[in-house]
């Protein structure tokens, strides 16, 4: 039963295992779905999906599987537009319902689906209060706040509580992990930078007091020392952040990441530098980018050990001259002998654990302003978009040498 549903979930990236699937079957046998689709919806979600970040994918698959209707995002948005400014929900009396029921009868799924597809193709705008097109408050089979014996509710609120179209509401859209979230989520992602640090290697140089007491007592009071490995975190991080100019629209997300990094007290060392558009001879110590508070990039490269993990944050979008030419610096008074790209390459060579986080969404990297320079920077650093999922991937990348 529903085996395809299982595979569709897996295809969409919801990690469902066989164990969970068997549990679901057990639940179905025990009658926990109450023989209703909405019962099945909640039962299957509770058993199969173990993270709220997958709820949205689950909703999409559920909707897809149990309606058999392809709903490309564009179409959904289009229909959502038609449904704006709805008529107030119309309450139908018992007689009215019966009259409509008699007139229309229960349509079968197939013809209803075909009809909806046809409407989606031919409807050109909002229609409310009627009996054919997708709209509100009428007796058409499609739309909401109206009545039709076997209709499909599209958006809106359920007034009759009949069809399971909860999935279409996509209440969990904001929990998706490929959307950006808050400081706390960033912190959790960063915490993984510790997970992989020394746990299995290193010498046993710390006295395990608890085990020593236990072992000594078991030994009838004769002292037995137990040693253990200290679990210090050895991760050292250098963060270089682009500020000002084209980064302005992303100031919010960058400041969230900034506070998350600073709250993560588990790094052995943390260095924070700023730059504007591209890195040249100087790195700045605060966001004002003034030369009086700066250090030489040369010195940073020379003085820090190469085991620092380097995180670059920036949109990498600039004029190609800023990246490739000597004296390309956007601050005219600060010429640079070496082009920016050389500095980036030197940093990448020195800190071999490196990533570039880009607040520009990945899907538009190829056509946004600065796509040439994004491409060039991508050749030097592994680039991820600055979302939770991107940060996760970046953290994993930071644990292995390029």
């Amino acid at each position: 039963m529903f085996t395809d549903f299982f595979y569709q979930l897996r295809r969409e990236g919801v990690p469902v295992s066989l164990t969970e699937w068997m549990t679901l079957m057990e639940g179905l046998n025990a009658g926990l779905a109450e023989s209703s689709l909405s019962g099945f919806y909640y039962l299957a979600r509770a058993v199969l999906v173990k993270s709220e970040s997958h709820f949205d994918k689950y909703d999409l698959v559920f909707q897809n599987y149990f309606q058999g209707i392809d709903t490309p995002q564009k179409l959904l948005d289009q229909v959502a537009k038609w449904m704006e400014n709805p008529l107030p929900a119309r309450m139908f009396s018992e007689e009215e319902r019966n009259r409509i029921l008699k007139k229309l009868g229960f349509p079968d799924w197939e013809s209803l689906k075909a009809a909806l597809e046809e409407r989606l193709r031919t409807q050109d705008g909002p229609h409310h209060g009627g009996n054919k097109w997708i709209g509100t408050g009428g007796t058409s089979p499609f739309g909401h706040s109206g009545f039709h014996p076997g209709g499909i509710r599209i958006g809106g609120e359920s007034h009759g509580r009949s069809a399971v179209k909860v999935a279409a509401e996509r209440n969990y859209r904001e929990y998706r992990c490929d959307e950006t979230l808050g400081v706390r989520q960033f912190e959790i992602a960063l915490r993984r930078l510790r997970q992989f640090s020394t746990r299995l290697e290193g010498i046993k140089d710390q006295l395990d007091l608890e085990e020593t007491i236990a072992e000594t007592c078991k030994n009838a009071g004769r002292l037995k020392l137990v040693w253990t490995r200290s679990r210090k975190n050895t991760v050292k991080v250098i963060v270089l952040m682009d500020v000002g100019g084209s980064m302005y629209p992303y100031i919010n997300i960058c400041s969230q990441l900034f506070s998350a990094v600073h709250k993560s007290s588990h790094f052995q060392d943390l260095k924070f530098y700023y730059f504007h558009n591209c890195i040249y001879d100087h790195l700045y110590l605060d966001a004002t980018n003034s030369i009086s508070k700066s250090v030489k990039t040369e010195d940073v490269i020379r003085l820090l050990n190469s085991d620092y993990k380097a995180v670059f944050i920036g949109d990498a979008a600039m004029a190609p001259s800023e990246l490739c030419l000597a004296d390309g610096n956007i601050f005219w008074d600060l010429g640079n002998e070496l082009p920016g790209i050389t500095w980036l390459e030197r940093l990448a060579r020195k800190f071999s654990y490196n990533v570039w986080l880009n607040p520009v969404p990945e899907r538009i990297w190829e056509r946004v302003y600065g796509s040439e320079t994004i491409k060039m920077v991508q050749d030097i650093f592994p680039m991820y978009e600055l979302t939770l999922e991107g940060l996760d991937k970046a953290v994993k990348k930071l644990m292995v040498r390029k």
Binding site: P15, S17, T19, E20, T23, E26, G27, A30, L32, G39, Y42, L43, A46, V47, V49, K50, S51, E52, F55, N171, Y172, Y175, G182, V183, I188, R191, Q195, I213, A214, T216, C217, K218, A220, G221, N252, S255, Q256, S259
Partner: protein, 289 residues
């Protein structure tokens, strides 16, 4: 067949239908129920409510960063035994008296069915949930010191809460029923506040909720106010005798809702700009840099 027990919620705890559903699924399938959700959505209180509704005893195992899986099963008090062997009168050859059962052990050994709450499981070490897999699966464990096996007479109802501070291992998740508690919407929140303050004036509550949800909708808050903060705030409003029409305009006692400096600054700025926008609404004003 044993009588199916169903959880229906209790008077002092407002439960959404799908949460109730999840609880019943987990009881029926005898799998642990893993509850996640924003802080302050009543994860811990849920277990108390279930215990009361089903009329079962509740055992709470609070997890701390130092908690080990072994602590939940049993602790062998070797220090006491050593002490007794040197200075005491007790018979130290009877190891049994030095074995103290942990919360999980107690739940297994209990003569009747109990509810076991494992609170904030994500506080412990990463390996912690994995260490409990076997015991939660077969509901028994072996004590090598005494050669005893503690097996559950009745499978306890296990409720586990997590604040998502750490990812839980997949193997552990596979064995759980999962439920995410949504932040309550305005109507449900009104019910919740009513449970705590039955005599609250209706328009004070409406205004307070309006301000509260507006506050939560502000972008860039580091810590959004949650239910418990709302409850404190409502009490402050009542005690302070604030007129309802002042609430959303000024948001008095903001400190009860927000706990961070930066959040204060953000909110005050928004509040200010909202106020001036309202004044300027009639005036047609152009924008420009």
């Amino acid at each position: 067949m044993t009588k199916q027990i169903t959880y229906k919620g209790t008077e002092d705890y407002i439960v959404s239908p799908d949460l109730r559903n999840s609880v019943n699924i987990s009881v029926a399938l005898s799998r642990p129920l893993l509850i996640k959700g924003e802080p302050g959505t009543g994860k811990t209180v849920l277990a108390e409510s279930i215990a009361r509704s089903l009329d079962l005893n509740l055992l709470i195992w609070n997890i701390k960063s130092t908690t080990k899986a072994q602590d939940g099963l049993y602790v062998y008090d070797t220090v006491q035994r050593l002490y007794d062997s040197q200075f005491g009168e007790r018979d130290v050859s009877d190891i049994k008296q030095y074995i103290k059962l942990g919360k999980l052990g107690e739940a297994f050994a209990s003569p009747e069915r109990v509810i076991l709450l494992i609170d904030e499981i994500d506080k412990a070490d990463l390996e912690f949930p994995n260490d409990l897999l076997w015991e939660l699966d077969v509901m028994s464990f072996y004590i090598p010191e005494t050669g005893e096996t503690i097996a559950a007479k009745h499978r306890p109802v296990v409720i586990i809460t997590s604040n998502a501070e750490k990812e839980l291992p997949d193997a552990f998740l596979r064995r759980c029923i999962f439920h995410y508690i949504d932040f309550p919407d305005q109507t449900m929140m009104a019910d919740i506040v009513h449970v705590h303050y039955p005599d609250l004036e209706e328009n004070l509550l409406t205004e307070a909720l309006k301000a509260f949800y507006w506050l939560r909708s502000i972008n860039g808050l580091q810590k959004k106010p949650s239910t418990s903060e709302l409850l404190d705030w409502v009490q402050a409003l009542t005690v302070g005798g604030i007129a309802p029409d002042r609430i959303s305009r000024e948001i008095p006692f903001l400190g009860a809702l927000l706990k961070k400096n930066q959040d204060f600054a953000v909110t005050l700025r928004q509040l200010h700009s909202r106020g001036s926008k309202e004044q300027a609404r009639s005036v047609n004003r152009g924008y420009g840099w």
